[in-house]
């Protein structure tokens, strides 16, 4: 079970420095002192977590060193076929595979299991770890900080460009466990990198909880493409946070893909701190069965001449439900900014439901800002047209849905990932 003792055991296992151990224990204290989110609060109103049993979670404390255990084929497939400069595969928070191109190594790129990074590059990690996210923001963040195992540390030195993507595949294996993966990405000044954060599991026999966090730090002029692709099995509950800080003229392209899990509540935030910084925020999700997805996004403009451009598209089927709540916040310092937000949902049958809640907090007066949301149903005329050319209804639906998502696919230059998404979408539609 999760407990203070479990925190200590994990800390002892990884052989981490004292500061990190103390950080964990402090976070545990915060976890114990904080209540669960209040269901009457606007942010949690649409997501019912009364069935959550944190006390019953198993802590992943066992064993030391890398595990050699074979991964199920699906876990390997999940890592995707994209040509890549490095791969890190973790199972239940422990590394099972790790490779990094020699070229990238020579350029000084660090791409490591976070536990290993704490030992190998302690100063870099200490400077950045939990600098973007605070444990006391939310009970789930505190839990994450206390019980984190594994995760990724990616450091790209100033001026270095890594052309091929780096990939971490995080596989969850133990039913009833709590998994707390952390991504710490530091892109130095003028550097360039693409990172794919892939998550998955088989269906779980009982409630299994993931509270993941990603801190993306983009120094001045850094260009980062970040993709989070999740395909959890049934009974997985995810409480995630992806937060980026952008320096002057930095550019982030993010894509969040959500297919799996029973209940997913993920926050995706971009803080545009440097003048001229830009954040493209893309989202693609498809809920079926009784899945519940809740995305809260934040486009926070703190500096002038910043740009955020958000497009989230989702499909829902069966009795699934999705929530999108997007906030654009422009601070007084955020003059001459452009902020765009668009959420589109496609409902495949009656019984499925999508909510879309755009919000604005504008404290500047010289800016351009648009937001829009639309929810539509499958268009019978489209289906008839396709079927009149011989496509079965299923093929026609798949085509219309792929077409609906094309706007997102087309903006991500990772063809294999696109295929992977299409396959997953096809699998979900097959059950229509």
């Amino acid at each position: 079970m999760i407990s203070r003792e479990a925190v200590e055991a994990i800390s002892a296992r990884t052989g981490e420095p004292v500061w990190m151990r103390e950080q964990r224990l402090a976070a545990w204290g915060v976890y114990e002192s904080l209540p669960l989110p209040d269901p009457t609060q606007e942010e949690w109103r649409r997501t019912d977590i009364s069935g959550l049993r944190l006390d019953a979670l198993r802590a992943l404390v066992d064993g030391t060193g890398p595990v050699a255990a074979a991964l199920p084929p699906r876990a390997a497939a999940l890592a995707g076929g994209e040509e890549r400069a490095g791969l890190l595969v973790q199972r239940d928070g422990r590394t099972v595979q790790h490779v990094l191109d020699e070229a990238a190594q020579r350029q000084g790129v660090l791409f490591l299991d976070l536990d290993q990074a704490v030992r190998q590059a302690p100063d870099l990690v200490r400077e950045h770890f939990l600098s973007v996210i605070r444990p006391d923001e939310l009970k789930f963040r505190a839990l994450h900080a206390a019980l984190r195992t594994g995760g990724t540390f990616l450091y790209v030195p100033p001026g270095v460009e890594v052309t091929l993507p780096l990939v971490t595949s995080t596989w969850l294996n133990t039913p009833g466990a709590g998994l707390f993966p952390h991504t710490l990405l530091v892109a130095g000044e003028g550097s360039k990198v693409t990172f794919l954060d892939v998550f998955g599991s088989d269906g779980m026999s009982r409630q299994t909880v993931v509270s993941n966090a990603a801190e993306l730090i983009l120094r001045d002029g850094a260009q980062v493409r970040y993709v989070a692709f999740q395909d959890w099995g049934a009974n997985v509950w995810e409480f995630g946070l992806i937060r980026a800080r952008l320096g002057r003229d930095a550019a982030l392209h993010s894509l969040i893909v959500a297919f799996g899990g029973s209940l997913v509540k993920t926050d995706i935030e971009s803080k545009l701190e440097g003048p001229g910084s830009q954040s493209e925020m893309l989202g693609l999700y498809f809920g079926d069965g009784t899945q519940h997805f809740d995305f809260h996004t934040l486009q926070e403009h703190l500096a002038p001449h910043t740009l955020s451009d958000l497009l989230y598209k989702g499909a829902v089927k069966d009795r699934a439900r999705t929530v999108f709540a997007g906030l654009i916040r422009v601070h007084p310092g955020g003059q001459k900014t452009n902020a765009f937000q668009s959420n589109r949902n496609l409902i495949l049958n009656t019984g499925a439901k999508s909510d879309s809640i755009p919000k604005l907090e504008i404290m500047a007066n010289d800016l351009r800002c648009t937001h829009g949301s639309a929810t539509s149903r499958l268009n019978d005329e489209h289906l008839f047209y396709l079927m009149s050319r011989g496509l079965t209804r299923r093929q026609a639906v798949q085509m219309v849905v792929d077409g609906f998502f094309a706007e997102v696919f087309d903006r991500v230059p990772l063809p294999r990932l696109g295929e992977q998404m299409q396959q997953e979408i096809g699998r979900k539609i097959a059950e229509l």
């Binding site: 268009n379 019978d380 008839f384 047209y385 396709l386 050319r389 011989g390 085509m399 077409g403």
Partner: protein
């Protein structure tokens, strides 16, 4: 008989549009269907393809001896029925190339996988060239942002790729410029000839011009949901000269006589069979 429409009554929502249509189209034949706006031409085309928006109230349609109305639209298409729509819909995000490849695969009986890309590309390139189309069209989304003429040509491209046994062209000539009408008509004639008697065509049109290129064996006139006149190619010319007024007055005569006595009537060229 390849397509036999018998006493077809169709309504949309509460409105009766087809009021007893009888028509037979065989392979190897070219038929033309003319009639005023709103007389039910597109309704007939759509109902033959199985558009769920239209309800068949009465009558039947046999296609190659089978009950066409019992089939889903995709089954009709796979069995060789085709419609070039008057108003093709745009489908965002779906490229012509992937749509056409899936459609060709379906028509050619691939059930699991699709027709190999190379083979498909070859066929597609040839047809695009025949119809003098811009190859870039294959990368565009279905009908999205197509000009009126491009849409019509894209319909004929689909017809060429799917090699139908019975093809209905709903006002394909409207919206095409003079040269394009000829290109499209040439394309259709090539398909017809290549099919060696294994293809029948129903051309719905308002203008005799296209019928100079695609020569009909029969011309039919639909009026207020009924076929009221059938004749040879010369009927199209005659209609274009005289308009539908003459037919309308003849129909009115019959209408009153039928109302009085209920029988098979004829007034001038117009006939009316009461069922």
């Amino acid at each position: 008989m390849d397509l036999e429409i018998r006493d077809l009554h169709v309504q949309v929502e509460e409105k009766v549009i087809l009021k007893g249509v009888n028509l037979t189209v065989n392979k190897g034949e070219v038929h033309a269907l003319m009639g005023p706006n709103g007389s039910g031409k597109s309704t007939l085309a759509n109902v033959l393809m199985g558009n769920p928006f239209y309800q068949v109230m009465q009558g039947d349609v046999l296609y190659k001896g089978e009950d066409l109305l019992a089939m889903a639209p995709d089954e009709r298409a796979r069995k060789g029925l085709f419609i070039a729509f008057q108003y093709p819909v745009a489908i965002p995000g779906v490229t012509m190339a992937s749509f056409l490849r899936t459609a060709v695969s379906a028509r050619r009986g691939y059930s699991k996988e699709l027709i190999p890309v190379g083979e498909f590309q070859k066929i597609l390139r040839a047809k695009i060239e025949e119809l003098k189309m811009d190859p870039a069209i294959t990368g565009r989304y279905i009908n999205e942002g197509f000009s009126g003429g491009e849409k019509k040509r894209a319909e004929i491209l689909q017809m060429a790729l799917l090699e139908p046994e019975i093809a209905i062209m709903d006002e394909t000539d409207s919206g095409l410029d003079i040269d394009s009408v000829k290109i499209v008509a040439d394309g259709v004639n090539r398909m017809f000839d290549a099919a060696k008697g294994q293809m029948g065509i129903l051309v719905i049109t308002h203008y005799s011009r296209v019928l100079h290129y695609i020569k009909p064996d029969y011309v039919h006139v639909i009026f207020d949901g009924r076929l009221v006149v059938s004749g040879g190619a010369e009927l199209a010319e005659e209609l274009e000269r005289s308009g539908y007024e003459g037919i309308k007055s003849q129909v009115d005569v019959i209408h009153s006589e039928v109302a009085a006595s209920g029988a098979v009537r004829r007034a001038g060229k117009v006939f009316w069979v009461v069922h």
